[in-house]
């Protein structure tokens, strides 16, 4: 991958415990209570010992079942809530030691967030909603409305500037939410289940929109979802959470190929593998013996080339990024993936 590996946001040994005197509780267990400890004292370990690095320009997806601590983790990362213990570093600065004032400054200029239920202010028009973060900063009316018009156009809502949120459909409302979070040109963009409240068709449409936007903007993104299909469509890397713990952090393909445990495997079981696996992961070693149908790249996803390979009676050579032949595939490998047959390793 071509991503520059500079961690924009990083958390180390992050804990968020709910209950009576959580700090004391953590101390009493040397900062690492087990599930039993938590249970015995009636504490909720909403986030347990999270270690995450979010690299500049990547889409980092956090997923897990309801109640697994996704929202809590993201709210710790954005410091909407105070972690019980741990370290939080944003762009090289320890953000936990910041004063409220400094924090306000960071949030105003460098972070944006999109909410599950849109969180639009009902008394403001689309334009005013989108301009709201800038208004809070004290920007002049003309300047902020000009900027708001830009982002509204960006999300495809031009012409609806004077509508009120109640006059918009769910999908349109979330477009406003996205426009608003983009108005300040944030470096770090949080999205907490932004499409979960939408019905499936609109949800897909919004995912496409999101991919289009990210293609233009190249933000660093932390994206929450409980929908694995959504996660693999969007993610560069996925963190899977269970009961407050991060079980695995990996690319979509790795998750499917090497799930860390049964919980992760359960998530990935019904995923259409063709959408996740790349050719590199299913090749047979060596070049094609006999007639060659053509060449394909190892980083191509199966579903992108399935039709082409299946139509051809002959096999294809597979090239790596440098153009060297790393192996070959034919109909059979593709069909194995498409019908979900386990391939003998």
């Amino acid at each position: 991958m071509t991503i520059k590996r500079h961690a924009l946001l990083e958390c180390n040994d992050l804990w968020k415990v709910y209950g009576h005197n959580p700090e004391g509780f953590l101390k009493a267990h040397n900062g690492a209570p087990t599930s039993d400890d938590l249970h015995a004292q009636n504490m909720v370990g909403a986030v347990r010992n999270a270690n995450v690095k979010i690299y500049e320009g990547e889409i980092f997806v956090i997923m897990g079942l309801s109640g697994s601590g996704k929202s809590t983790l993201v709210r710790c990362l954005s410091r909407l809530i105070q972690p019980t213990a741990g370290e939080l570093i944003f762009d090289g600065q320890d953000i936990l030691s910041k004063s409220d004032k400094q924090l306000i400054e960071i949030r105003r200029k460098r972070m944006g967030m999109v909410f599950q239920h849109f969180a639009l202010l009902p008394h403001l028009t689309v334009l005013q909603n989108a301009a709201f973060p800038l208004e809070v900063q004290g920007m002049s009316r003309d300047a902020r409305e000009a900027r708001a018009r830009e982002v509204i156009e960006l999300v495809g809502l031009k012409g609806r500037e004077d509508y009120y949120p109640a006059q918009l459909s769910g999908g349109q409302q979330q477009r406003v939410g996205i426009a608003r979070s983009l108005a300040v040109e944030p470096d770090l963009w949080f999205l907490d289940e932004p499409f979960s409240a939408l019905d499936p068709l609109i949800r897909r449409e919004m995912q496409d929109e999101f991919i289009r936007l990210q293609g233009m903007l190249k933000k660093t993104i932390v994206f929450i979802t409980h929908d694995f299909d959504e996660a693999i469509r969007l993610a560069d890397r996925i963190a899977v959470m269970r009961d407050g713990e991060i079980v695995q952090i990996a690319s979509p393909e790795e998750l499917v190929l090497h799930p860390a445990d049964d919980y992760v495997a359960e998530f990935t079981r019904y995923v259409p593998r063709a959408k996740v696996l790349t050719l590199g992961s299913i090749i047979r070693p060596g070049p094609v013996e006999g007639e060659v149908a053509g060449t394909l790249n190892a980083s191509d996803r199966v579903d992108m080339v399935a039709d082409q390979v299946e139509r051809s009676a002959k096999d294809f050579n597979i090239l790596d990024d440098d153009g060297a032949i790393v192996g070959h595939i034919g109909r059979r490998e593709i069909i194995d993936v498409l019908i979900g047959r386990e391939v003998a390793a």
Binding site: L80, R107, R108, M113, A119, L121, V136, Y164, P165, Q167
Partner: protein, 678 residues
Amino acid sequence: MSVSELDIKTPRQSTLAWLRSPWLFWGGLLVATWLISKFSFDIYRAFDARWIIRFPDAWQPDFETRISDFMDWLLQEAQVFGILFRDVTRGLAAVIEAPYDLVVGLLVDGVQRGQGNQAVQILPPLSWIGVIFAVTAIGHYTKSWSMAVLMAVCFSYLAVFGQWESAMMTLASVLIAVPIAAGGGLLLGVLAFRVAWVDKALRPILDLMQTVPVFAYLVPILFMFGFGPVSALVATIIYAMPPMIRVTIVALRGVPEELAELGRMVGCTPRQQMWKILVPSAKPTLMVGVNQVIMLTLNMVIIASMIGAGGLGYDVLTALRRLDIGGGVEAGLAIVVLAIALDRLSQAFSTRTVTQKAAQSKGSFLQRHRWSLLSILVIAVTGIMGLGSTWMQSYPDAAVLSTGQVWEDAIGYINVNYFDALEAMKNTLLMWFLLPLRQFFAGIPWGWGLVVTTLIGFRIGGFRLAALVFVLIGLIILTGLWGKAMTTVYLCGASVAIASIIGIPLGLLAASGATSNRVVGAFIDTLQTLPSFVYLIPVVMLFRVGDFSAMIAIVAYALAPAVRYAAHGIRSIDPQIIEAGIVSGCTRWQMMRRIKLPMIVPELLLGLNQTIMLALSMLVITALVGTRDLGQEVYIALTRANTGQGIVAGLAVAFIAITADRLLEASAKRMRKRMGLS
């Protein structure tokens, strides 16, 4: 329920349990009280111990004089931070008086120069045509043409039927009291929301304010601010503010967490968070609070007129005193009309849709403000022309229609033709219900009263409640007001009983279907929109003064909560329980008797509680028709400006209210627990 629980106990325990059985406790208490009440006079005779029925003067600490002295000291010498208390109240009065004078000038008096009789009018008040046009425009702005028509009709009514000046006077106090009460309530609510200790400090005060009837603080206010509109406004504001504080806290808490997070995420300062995010998002709920404040303010106009407010309330008050039927009904109807107009207007304002807002924010300056500009124009033109022709300035006297005679005649007709029937009804109720009840309560000696209430407190809420009840009732006894307190309990008790007998079936009816719900709901809404004392007018005219009239007025006023809570109780029963009943083959009657009624008892108790509170707060108004209870005591104190007497009697009512409130709340809680509802 507990009887069947007892069946399974072992025999030895069950004898003990039988002693604790509710039937024995309540039955025994009732019988004992009845006997003691009936023979208390004979007992006193037999032992020649007058102290049994009358708490001896020598034992009374004379609270009245002490409180009067204290209040004198407060007003003459007390200092707060080095400033005379007197000056503080004067300052407050000035703050309220200045805008009030301005509004009264605008609506009623015009701009004047000079004092009293020498006053010369420089500018006339707004012309009646101008005012009607302006409110019509506001009606159109907030909702629709139909709202505009309603406003026009209501305000034209006031002009045509000769109530204009008084109505404008009342409107002026509403215009001052509502912003102060709503704004102050909002600020306090915001403060309580943000600062934990303010919330903690306010909560018990709000609880208390809810149980303390208005007139407990009428006399001290009168004393501090003197007889006049300022006192009336202060009392009104104090009365109307607590609900606004509550609504504000609830509304702010109800703002979705996501919106609060949005605020922090975009970097709002605490102030921006409050005023740009929380308050605007909570606005629909807040407007409900404002509507409540308006209705409470109108509710206060007659009580306020006892301490110096002019306007419609004063007209009703004087009419009642003179038994001027026609005048009373006319002024009363005018209040109703004003109440309806303001109620609908404020409701329309709070339910304005975004479509409307969007439509209204379009167009050029002239287009957007065409209505306000037009109103100003009409006001100016009619004002200038009014200088020449008086009918433009104020509605011509010659064209005033008076309905007074109509009402006199109607009442006369009813009295001539149905006198016997009405009289028979009144006498039957008096004979078989009110008088026996009155004798029962009047006969209870203070000592036994203290014992009984304390026992009840213990039974329902344990030691702490018993102690509270003992102290409160003991204080009433110490003030020497036991007799009057019992009259109060009797009058309220009788009214509440009748209100429940009428109200609960109505509530059940309302819950039984959509149509009946609409009809009963509309009926109850109307009852609640009407300011309390209008009930008094027709009743007095038909039944003349006395306990019976007072009771009917109280019943009419206090009916609503009984209906509401019963209906709400039925609706909130878990549908599965109803289905279980249907499946086990209950008939409709069995369903009501065996399933629904027992389930809603806690809800009914809460309704009963509200009914009692409303009944108690109606007392000072019914004092106008010559009752002999604590309300009368307050009323007398008001007319004599006797602070001590007023405060003591007001507190006594408050103590009764608090006792009833705590007892009922505790038993509702107990029942809920037993039924596993909470």
